[in-house]
């Protein structure tokens, strides 16, 4: 039976969609503290203000992240949520869980917490919602000793790196996303578990430009698989698609009759750079114009494949819209080899070059993308020792001034201007 009346929340159960209110009521049958979450949320809807106090000094010994303190500011009315800390559990690479592991995690959380989870947070961790301070150390002990799993990152730490499932299942993956994700997770244990930066920093690894982990939108350091040479074409496969013998998009949209496959309408005419055409019954691609949008490969996976010379593009500086709106990452390094043979040394060099600069120049609570925006891309490219190229330019310039550096000016800033003008009369 409900502990609190929640007429406002009950409205959220009336639609045809799944409702978190219904889920919480079900959970409250075994974890009575969940009634107090509903009660406090109802009060927040009435008062139009949050009743959570966020942050504090809770944590587990030796770690400066992984636990987010949360307290109720009305504990007398809702004692079940007096403490309601969040625990971040590092997810396995590619989110591969065994059912045995999932059951063990849920049993652990039923024992020490509210049983409510968020699968998964934006960073990628499994998020356990709601426990008391005295449960944190026992939970951490069991998690690390019995399940051999770890907490994820929070605060001004390196956040838990995440990746797509990569080469384990996807033929388009241009590098082993899971291996680099695991390698860098182990390499940067200190940065994940203890604060290191002006603000959070996220790695995400996508094996191809489909970017299934949304690295370009959600990570400070996005490693997105790409290729340097030409898209591989199997002309016989193209003909099979055109004849209707292969389903387009791997049959993903087969729930409706879209008519016969039309390569011109569905592929060639919507190529964003118009770099494809038919010559007789052969598909041609001007690969120098291809922007790796993946559309043609997605539509005809049995005829087209990424090239053979594979690596990744590094984009830097994405963030969600806390300050100044959401921001996509900026392409900084168009192609880099991603190789386990050198233990990803070249990728690590790029990461640490960014960190050394950002830790010095970044303001408190400033994401690296905001620092880049503040100082400008030309300066950032100089920091990264990358030569500017047309692909770095987002839009034509609107500022009429040219900011020359002294070394770019013949004779420097101290040159004799009169002498210069005598030689270069208007």
């Amino acid at each position: 039976m409900a502990k609190h009346d929640t007429p406002l929340l009950d409205e959220l159960e009336k639609g045809p969609w799944p409702s978190f209110v219904t889920d919480m009521k079900r959970q409250a049958e075994t974890h009575p503290e969940c009634w107090d979450i509903l009660g406090q949320l109802e009060l927040s809807y009435e008062d139009r203000i949050t009743h959570w106090k966020h942050g504090g000094i809770v944590g587990v010994f030796g770690y400066g992240g992984g636990i987010v303190g949360r307290y109720s500011d009305v504990p007398d009315r809702f004692p079940g949520v007096e403490h309601f800390h969040t625990v971040r559990i590092a997810q396995p690479s590619g989110l591969y869980y065994s059912t045995k592991n999932l059951r063990a995690l849920m049993d652990l959380w039923d024992k020490y917490g509210s049983g409510m989870t968020n699968m998964h947070g934006s960073t990628g961790d499994m998020i356990f919602l709601g426990t008391r301070t005295e449960n944190l150390e026992p939970l951490f002990w069991d998690l690390t000793h019995d399940l051999d799993q770890d907490l994820g990152g929070s605060g001004s730490n390196l956040r838990t790196p995440s990746c797509c499932l990569g080469e384990s299942r996807c033929e388009w993956s241009c590098y082993d996303t899971q291996d680099i994700c695991y390698h860098l997770t182990m390499h940067y244990q200190d940065e994940i578990h203890r604060p290191a930066f002006p603000y959070k920093f996220k790695f995400k690894f996508s094996g191809c430009p489909n970017d299934c982990v949304a690295a370009i939108a959600r990570s400070d350091f996005a490693v997105i698989g790409t290729w340097k040479d030409d898209i591989q074409i199997d002309q016989a496969g193209v003909k099979e698609y055109m004849a209707g013998n292969y389903p387009s998009n791997g049959g993903a949209h087969s729930g409706r009759d879209w008519g016969a496959f039309d390569i011109k309408k569905e592929v060639i005419d919507i190529c964003p750079t118009n770099c494809m055409w038919m010559e007789g019954d052969e598909l041609k691609i001007d690969n120098s114009e291809c922007t790796r949008c993946m559309h043609c490969i997605n539509v005809m996976p049995r005829a087209l494949k990424p090239g053979k010379e594979k690596g990744a593009t590094i984009c830097i500086g994405a963030k969600a819209p806390i300050l100044d709106g959401a921001q996509f990452a900026t392409m900084v390094i168009p192609f880099i080899k991603v190789s386990k043979e050198n233990e990803y040394e070249n990728v690590i060099d790029v990461i640490e070059q960014i960190w050394d600069w950002w830790m010095e120049v970044g303001k408190n609570r400033e994401r690296v993308g905001e620092t880049m925006q503040r100082i400008g891309l030309p300066t950032f490219l100089r920091v990264m020792e990358v030569d500017a190229m047309p692909q770095h330019v987002r839009e034509p310039r609107s500022n009429p001034y040219v900011f020359w550096k002294e070394e770019e000016v013949e004779g420097g800033f101290e040159r004799d201007v009169e002498e210069f003008r005598r030689k270069h009369a208007a």
């Binding site: 604060p195 002006p198 303001k363």
Partner: protein
């Protein structure tokens, strides 16, 4: 000339003890030795947490440092970490 680790530790503790606000960002400690790299200062500050001289205070999105005797958690206890 760069300061020794012990000198930087002492400067960090002094800063954390005398600052008007008990919670400090890691950047606040950089000035303790401008000749040291930020990552070196970070490592020393985190080492002081291990020794119990400092503690972490986290808002969830940002982590700050504080002297244990200058800060209390919501439950009223000091120096818990």
């Amino acid at each position: 000339m760069a300061m020794s680790v012990e000198e930087i530790e002492a400067a960090i503790i002094e800063k954390a003890t005398k600052s008007p606000k008990p919670q400090l960002y890691i950047k606040d400690f950089y000035k303790c030795d401008p000749d040291s790299k930020p990552r070196a200062i970070k490592n020393i500050a985190n080492g002081l947490v291990k020794k119990g001289e400092l503690m972490f205070w986290s808002s969830g999105s940002t982590t700050m440092y504080a002297r244990p005797d200058r800060i209390k958690d919501e439950e009223g206890s000091e120096g818990v970490n």
